[in-house]
Symmetry: C3
Subunit: 208 residues, 3 copies
């Protein structure tokens, strides 16, 4: 019950982030709606496709789509008059990332996948929606680039900690809480102190 | 039988539109062929993946791929000498959009999905190929942006009307015809009178 | 056994190519890792999704993911000090393309698909990872454009020859070797002599 509410909250926040990104590109209402949908359900959809889970979560339960459309509408109405509440959105987004990452890892765990695939599914569930948003907006995905403040890193660390703690004997509920907390804490700390991963340097030009 | 012919016609028109877009980017023959294929079968492929329908329609029946390749070839040969027949293509594309949207909605309906998911599948089937075309051409998807003349809007309205009419007691065949007609009429009217959805405005700059 | 080793070699080379492309875009470590993963396993993943083969190859056998991460790490460490060994990489990449193309075609063949779908699956398996790499780097996919030196063309020719030889009575092992050899030879010849497909010309401007 709490998990279901968290899931809808996460979807709502990701939808708002998608709607804002699309609005900043000057998209029309359909474009904003489409980007909101893709941002909110893209990660979970890719997870379900890769793991052959059908019906896909938002096809089975249309509440997710309604929440996306409601959230996008509220966002658009609000930002016609006001500046978006960016700090609030960043905190909510960190919670959404935490929830999606750990719940994605759990889905993979229940299928008995090897550890590395469990971590990969967690990161994909948490981050793929934002990558799709950026691809559809024709931008370099934020979370790959040098400006990113540990978005995927936080997901990776949280999913890894969730698995490592269980391997070390901690029970699932504790590992889950710790994993989610680590994702949110790392991400918020990175925003607060502008923490970033080092960029990569490559010598010389490429062929072709 | 008529439906099968319409399906191949739609695929042919979408392939021509993809081939022209790729040709305008200066792609080579392989690139043009690839974009034509993705534009023509992308929407139906995404629908089949999301609904777990296997084998995917063009894998089960290679006639679709042959029609795509034939249409792309004819298009390329024609445009070496002549201006593309843009008005004709726009009309044919509106018919293709109408057919794909309603037939995509019907596939979802036969699986007993909730109404919102039926509409979503109709819109995805009709429009995702064009979005993929634009992503692969490294362009902002036309149908999200302020220049779009009601492409996805027409699909949304047609799929919605198809469902609403049935809920109101109209039988499927009538709802199907009305839905397809509405998609094509809206789209052609939007082109003729340059109808567009309003753009969205967002105050202030974004974080990150 | 040899095939499994070739598969891991192909994955390693594609991962290095992805890591270099991401490094040249100035991505951070996470971005480089993500692009390396997508480049290396994207083609096979799309093949498995389209053919409904589950679990997907890298989920079933995490060795592939470990090889990707190892290869990306070695690549990044190496290029901090040295120029990338581009000629070596191009040769290895041609071998990877040859292996992935023919093995992708074989998977489709074992499912009894029609010839055109077998060829399409071979080309998709060999090339889709590189297309995804370019899309995620926000570049026009190299292999569609006028600068491409027969990348997809080589895959197409090799997969076609593999099928045609079998239809002409050659046994599978011979057709396989010839197909792989043709892919690698065409690609390397195209690089050596800068062979390219002609670009396409379209008269006039587009509508919309």
């Amino acid at each position: 019950m709490i998990l279901y509410a968290l899931s809808l909250l996460g979807v709502a926040v990701f939808a708002a982030s998608g709607a804002l990104a699309a609005g900043r590109k000057g998209f029309d209402w359909i474009g904003v709606g489409a980007i909101a949908v893709v941002t909110a359900i893209g990660g979970g959809t890719l997870r379900d496709l890769l793991l052959d889970r059908h019906p896909i979560f938002w096809i089975a339960d249309p509440a997710h789509l309604w929440v996306v459309l409601g959230s996008a509408t509220v966002t658009l109405v609000y930002v016609r008059r006001h500046r978006p509440p960016d700090s609030l959105l960043l905190v909510a987004d960190a919670l959404g990332l935490a929830f999606f990452t750990i719940s994605g890892a759990q889905v993979a765990e229940q299928q008995g996948l090897p550890g590395l695939a469990v971590v990969a599914m967690g990161v994909i569930t948490g981050t793929a929606g934002g990558v799709l948003r950026d691809v559809l907006c024709n931008e370099v995905p934020l979370l790959f680039g040098p400006l990113d403040t540990l978005y995927a890193t936080a997901a990776l660390a949280g999913a890894g900690a969730y698995l490592a703690l269980q391997a070390g004997g901690v029970e699932r509920d504790g590992a889950e809480l710790f994993g989610m907390g680590l994702v949110a804490a790392l991400r918020l700390a990175a925003i607060a102190w502008q923490l970033r991963l080092p960029g990569v340097r490559v010598h010389g030009e490429g062929p072709r």
